[in-house]
């Protein structure tokens, strides 16, 4: 059975997709078969990090949800983004993107989709690709799809920035996760400004949320400039941020 890691943030712009892509790659590099599914159908983004655009995506998650294909048909092997010359069946990294086509996005917004079908898809793609880990890159905010991701995951990872709006909004999601009896809630604080007392911040967040802060990432110009064009942990293998990300990846695998 694949371990499911749902990655969520209360607002957009926390670096969720970027962190998800990097963590999934690092977990794969440790010798696993890893999938990433972009359930942020309304504002997809993670495909960009792996070099996809409207023209080179045949099928997307949307096609599965409309019954046009099997979910594994929408899975792309992106191992080469993390490892130049992969061989064997491990490590492997797969991406199930959401459609970038505006018509497809509009259709979801207008018609909605069966969230139950998403659950079935997550289970069957894990089996079909023999995944060890599956990362769900969720839509920001709380909706039925987020709640489903919380309910079915083994680890719920929340990414927040150290500001009051995120602190308030994340508190709601954490409380919902506690009520859905999630096995483990892991918090990542991203874009911590220089000079902010990280230790105290961590203590305040942990004691308020009753959840573990597994990593604090600084506001970083290199990461921001690389943004969503490539994997930071691959490009800057020895960077302190990569070391922190590796620590989080190890925590996910324990």
């Amino acid at each position: 059975m694949a371990k499911i890691i749902a990655v969520h943030s209360f607002r957009g712009g926390t670096g969720k997709s970027n962190i998800t892509a990097n963590l999934a790659s690092l977990v794969a590099l440790a010798g696993h078969r890893v999938g990433i599914i972009d359930t942020d159908i309304q504002s997809p983004g993670i495909h960009v990090i792996f070099g996809f655009n409207q023209d080179n995506l045949k099928y997307a998650l949307n096609d599965y949800l409309w019954g046009n294909c099997k979910i594994e048909d929408a899975a792309y092997d992106v191992t080469r983004a993390a490892i130049p010359e992969p061989n064997g069946d491990r490590p492997r990294l797969f991406l199930i993107p959401s459609s970038v086509k505006t018509g497809e996005i509009a259709r979801v917004l207008c018609d909605g989709y069966d969230v139950g079908l998403l659950n079935d898809g997550i289970q069957s793609v894990s089996r079909a690709l023999s995944l060890d880990y599956l990362f769900i890159d969720t839509h920001p905010g709380v909706n039925e799809e987020t709640l489903l991701s919380i309910a079915i995951c083994d680890r719920f990872m929340l990414i927040m920035r150290p500001d009051n709006q995120d602190f308030q909004g994340t508190a709601v999601t954490v409380e919902l996760a506690h009520r859905l009896e999630v096995q483990e809630i892991l918090l990542i604080v991203n874009k911590v400004p220089q000079g902010m007392e990280a230790g105290m911040l961590q203590g305040q967040i942990e004691s308020t949320y009753k959840a573990e802060v597994v990593g604090m990432l600084p506001l970083n110009a290199e990461m921001a400039s690389l943004a969503s064009s490539a994997l930071f942990s691959v490009r800057y293998g020895d960077h302190p941020i990569t070391q922190t990300l590796k620590g989080i990846a190890r925590r996910i695998m324990t």
Binding site: E144, A151, F167, R179, L180, A198, I205
Partner: protein, 166 residues
């Protein structure tokens, strides 16, 4: 001339100083759970002899004596140089201490003065949070989901039980 050092024990949730110690004319200060330390903290997660402060001729340094180590800015470190307002945690679950090399001039000021830097960094409106949580929790979808999880958990337990029987 050794600069005086001030140590605040912080309430971890709020960052308020709970207790303050000030040391003049000393070049080392010990801290831990054991009563023979200069700073005694009654925290079960702190070691009996956890760490000590040492003036190295230039500045104060906090040095770990315990396998529980010191946590500084989220990292485990053996030693931390003290600048103005350095906050460290004694062990992964221990208390937070704030260190000030440039201490207040008057002995009694540290304990009664208002220090904005130890105020909580983030604010949470709990009442608003509870209101928003109940909006979700009372919705039919949330109830369905909870019921589905409960059933799945029961099935899993049943399966495990049957597996152990065989």
């Amino acid at each position: 001339m050794i600069p005086p050092i001030t140590v605040h024990l912080l309430d971890s949730a709020q960052g308020h100083p709970l207790q303050t110690w000030k040391f003049d004319d000393r070049d080392s200060v010990t801290m831990g759970r054991s009563p023979d330390n200069d700073i005694v903290v009654t925290d079960p997660y702190v070691s009996r002899s956890h760490a000590y402060l040492k003036f190295d001729g230039d500045q104060w340094r906090l040095i770990s004596l315990s396998r529980q180590r010191i946590y500084f800015e989220g990292q485990v470190v053996p030693e931390v140089p003290i600048d103005g307002g350095t906050v460290c945690r004694l062990g992964p679950h221990g208390c937070y201490l704030k260190f000030d090399q440039t201490a207040a001039q008057q002995d009694d000021r540290a304990t009664i003065s208002f220090d904005a830097s130890t105020m909580p960094i983030l604010k949470l409106d709990r009442e608003r949070m509870q209101q928003e949580v109940s909006q979700f929790v009372e919705a039919p979808y949330f109830k369905q989901l909870k019921e589905a999880i409960r059933q799945r958990r029961e099935q899993k337990e049943q399966q495990q039980l049957e597996e152990t029987k065989h």
